[in-house]
Subunit: 126 residues, 4 copies
């Protein structure tokens, strides 16, 4: 199998250095981030998320599943482990490991002002 | 042919995990997404688009053509198969397969508010 | 030389499928796009830009130079060949070929509304 | 070690061609840029930043450290060498070299208008 074909459907390790849940919302929409996962294969993707901080130990092994031939746009505010969630207004970073190749894109909607701002990036893949 | 030169003009498989047609528009511009394709070769690119959802089977084999030495900025709202189009206000994801190497960039204009928001990413390539 | 080290300072072929000069500006800033080039080497980068359209032949071999150990943020509205410039309000795409490895990032400021929108992407490299 | 696994945790050379500190802010937030670094390894990452300009010699060897298993979102306005900082309102570019593999994402918040604009990109890696 050539290198190209082996990555044709994605990668198993993904990284997003710039994550941040804006603490405020105004106007019609709510500030949020999404980790958008595409699983083109037929098997489910079992994903383990790690959250890195500036000043404390990471939160490791948060679990998520994306069924085969489905996408999931996972709100970062929905991730939790042992009742712990990601704090708002704090710079952090994300890594994901998946049981099967996936593609990961990160997007943020900042609705601090009634006029929204958007940003997106395909993650770095290992 | 080296690996670099073989990809000099693009790739044949592209993926965009974060797609979404904003349901509302206000102000002067209309909310929309574009799949921007560049075909640097002389042959036409025959493209098959697959649309992945969170909760149902993909729509497969939507056809599009980008002539040789041309770009096309394809509005996602213009894609259809057997009369079925992509619903607005629903998170989805996109994959493209092309008969020849192309380059794919995805952009969204969100005009939910009169003050617009923009985001863009070069797709993931397989 | 390993593959990694051979690309440590950039690539010689770059592609941006989604280019567009917004025709309107309001507020304090002017709508514009920039092709941002970084040349980390000591030699000048002699660059040839090609502009691809949806419905006509490309404009080829527009010349630009980025000196060694310098960046240039080139406004697309400043590019011209034989007096021909890029029309505003028209979807187009860009390719660049450089005499030495460079890194290319594309950014757009849309000031159609007084509240601006920004988007950026590192180009696809061949 | 395969190519994939050798880059699983990042790269040691990163480049961001489009950097710019907006000179004005209005509304609730302040215009700024961040170089967001993720260090997944256990060792500290010792980073040397170079700032490239359009019309003068680079500022080289600005030092920064990102501890192991931590992220840092470094405001570009906080970088300095011998008391020299990055001027606002001037197009520039950034390169980073790290003692260990890291992942780098660049983001800009433009609050020139009360309604903010955001852009982000994973850097180019050498």
């Amino acid at each position: 199998m050539t290198e190209e074909s082996s990555h044709a459907k994605g990668r198993t390790a993904w990284y997003i250095p710039d994550a941040y849940i804006p603490p405020h919302s105004s106007g019609e929409l709510e500030s949020h981030e999404s980790i958008c996962v595409l699983n083109c294969l037929t098997e489910d993707a079992e994903i383990r998320v790690t959250i890195y901080f500036e000043d404390r130990e990471p939160i490791e092994d948060i679990q998520a599943t994306v069924p085969g031939r489905r996408t999931r746009h996972i709100r970062t505010s929905s991730l939790s482990k042992n009742g712990e969630t990601i704090p708002v207004g704090v710079p952090y970073a994300i890594s994901l490991e998946s049981s099967v190749p996936i593609i990961v894109q990160y997007s943020r909607l900042d609705a601090t002002q009634p006029a929204n701002a958007l940003m997106t990036a395909i993650g770095y893949f290992g």
